[in-house]
């Protein structure tokens, strides 16, 4: 399970559902936080 801070690999796997808007509230917050702070993701 994902912990409070989401690893890059975890976030990367979840991106399809960030894109289609189907992540649950807590999941979405974790993935979004990661994406905004991650050099690889924002590249």
């Amino acid at each position: 399970m994902m912990t409070e801070t989401c690893s890059h690999a975890d976030a990367w796997l979840m991106l399809p559902w960030l894109a289609n808007g189907r992540l649950s509230g807590a999941e979405r917050v974790r993935v979004e936080e990661h994406v905004h702070g991650c050099v690889q993701c924002t590249r």
């Binding site: 991106l15 399809p16 960030l18 894109a19 905004h36 590249r43």
Partner: protein, 218 residues
């Protein structure tokens, strides 16, 4: 990052339609279980277009898609009584369509393989040329993927299902769904960077837009 920021308005039909619709559809299935033809007709109208599009994209063959749609509704009619409501109606129906599509694939795999080059989907007038072109690109890229990955892509991006719903439809663990999409995205990223990674695409699009605009100025 905005949800659906990547999507073309012509591509995505909103399919996650909320709890009210799920309750309505559960009620329809209960009536179908009692042999109510009107309820069946209503469910047919709710799902026919969605299933036909999903299956046509998946099989790239109108004849197979239509056959699978008919088979699916036949099962819905006969098995409505076995729907217990422990999954969403859409998950149940898509699950049936998925299994029917797999069977159709198996029996016509050889033929489909042979005809893939010949059977081009005819153009329709309902969409602008750019969308049509995009769909064709995407269709060709998707055809390169193994069928399980292609299904996962369709269920996620085209039909808007959650990871858990796709796992229920495909009858596999959640992690398998994630892995299938991971591999599919990797392959699509090489073929279609702008579709496979919406976030990178938005940034890339902006950057390229400004470059080309300034490039045109004397």
């Amino acid at each position: 990052v905005k949800a659906n920021s990547y999507s073309d308005p012509g591509m995505a039909e909103p399919t996650y339609r909320g709890a009210a619709n799920a309750a309505r559809e559960t009620d329809l299935i209960a009536r179908i279980a009692e042999g109510d033809r009107k309820a069946f007709e209503e469910l047919y109208h709710l799902y026919h277009r969605r299933l036909a599009r999903f299956l046509t994209r998946l099989t790239r063959r109108y004849d197979i898609a239509e056959e699978v749609v008919n088979d699916t509704f036949w099962v819905v009619w006969r098995k409505a009584r076995s729907f217990r409501g422990d999954s969403q109606p859409s998950t149940w129906i898509l699950g049936i369509a998925y299994r029917k599509a797999r069977n159709a694939f198996r029996s016509s795999a050889r033929l489909a393989e042979k005809n893939l080059q010949l059977e081009q989907l005819p153009h329709t007038d309902e969409e602008p040329a750019s969308t049509e072109e995009l769909r064709d690109w995407l269709g060709r890229a998707l055809a390169e993927l193994p069928v399980e990955q292609r299904l996962a892509v369709e269920l996620c991006y085209e039909l808007g299902h959650s990871c858990e719903e796709i796992a229920a439809i495909m009858d596999c663990p959640v992690n398998t769904v994630k892995t299938r999409l991971f591999h599919a995205r990797g392959k699509l990223q090489r073929l279609l960077p702008q579709l496979a990674t919406p976030i990178a695409a938005a940034a890339d699009g902006n950057a390229r837009g400004s470059v080309s605009t300034s490039g045109r100025q004397p």
